[in-house]
Assembly symmetry: C2
Homo-oligomer: 219 residues x 2
């Protein structure tokens, strides 16, 4: 986790629109969201260094890496990565060039707060950079170690995390793990039909940078 | 292996041309080839059945799923699948519609022999269907269990295998594992600079169906 990125390859065939519903499919699948920041790169050569890799960032995006936790455990045990446990990822309406983000995009990280609401309740209010162990430069270089990356390749930060308990979480499973550790059992359920999830990233005046993701949960 | 497909997601950003060189990059990376058959699907709905999935096959392809064995072990242990250990996959020059394959494409498998040469020596001469545990219908349905597949999605069979020792192997690592079992140590090395790999699939008159893959190995 801290010495070598845990990176998986997701499906490139389709994306979930920012306002499209998320599907439960089966209650045992354990539908969860993951708020994270990503970058879209220009053509990137194999073997690039982390510092050069940062220059290949064309756009910054906000995304919801939708996950079926009930399927992820078995796929993790197989070692072959996530296939069924990662349905299409959702992206916020706007992608933003690094220069528009100014000094908020520095050290290969986006220093902005992400606010996640589950229904009307605040679920997390987190700094997207504070616990990002690897910079986007390091993550791009990791992905490009043995191959070039095509222009348009999207590299995600991993779920935004926070060790501070007051800040909340960017995904349900992290909250459940904390409950497990503190109380011996997880009490927060995964998403059910009729709920909503809203993910937004705001600048220092509180304005949305990418537009919000907003999903209803359907069967 | 036999009850649930071991399926990983590969990079979709770029492919290796059929006659392009394969790169060693670092001798410790353990460059290997994997001969396999794949299918390109039309738009496929989430939750499709294996029998309906077979109707979504638009094209059949022959491919070399290039692998760095020296990097695969650590990535397998992480559980997140293959990122650095799977550089771009190479595809044979022609893709073929199922009707052109006639009865050779039946039961969701391609009943044709694949011949692999390492330099001038025959490395494997294998039936692409004989040990394919899951049909392409089952593999497509597995991939589409929680999401639709975009038109153009490529689903691979997995490395062609043969339990018969006389038929050879479709990848170096399988031969090395057999050597390990029989002699206590693997003696066949991974690819080195200057070698060549040729993969071809032939019909019952010995004619190439997809055109051959032919790669020189460079640094």
């Amino acid at each position: 986790l801290r010495t070598d990125p845990l990176m998986y390859q997701g499906g490139a065939g389709g994306m979930l629109p920012a306002r499209a519903p998320m599907r439960v499919l089966d209650p045992t699948f354990g539908l969860d969201f993951e708020a994270e920041v990503g970058v879209v790169v220009r053509a990137t050569e194999q073997g690039i260094s982390p510092s050069d890799a940062l220059d290949r960032v064309a756009l910054v995006v906000l995304l919801n890496d939708v996950t079926y936790r009930g399927l992820a455990k078995d796929e993790l045990a197989k070692g072959f990565g996530f296939v069924q446990s990662k349905p299409p990822t959702a992206f916020a309406p706007f992608a933003v060039t690094p220069d528009e983000l100014g000094s908020a995009f520095r050290d290969g990280r986006l220093h902005r707060r992400v606010r996640i609401h589950r229904n009307d309740a605040l679920f997390g209010d987190l700094d997207a950079a504070a616990e990002m162990h690897f910079s986007f430069g390091e993550l791009i270089a990791h992905a490009a170690r043995t191959r070039p990356l095509a222009a348009g390749t999207i590299v995600g930060s991993g779920t935004i995390s926070s060790e501070g308990e007051t800040a909340g979480c960017a995904c349900i499973v992290e909250r459940r793990m904390r409950e497990q550790l503190q109380h011996g059992a997880a009490s927060t359920p995964y998403l059910a039909v009729g709920e909503t999830v809203t993910i937004d990233l705001v600048d220092d005046t509180g304005n949305s940078v990418f537009g919000a993701l907003h999903h209803e949960v359907i069967a």
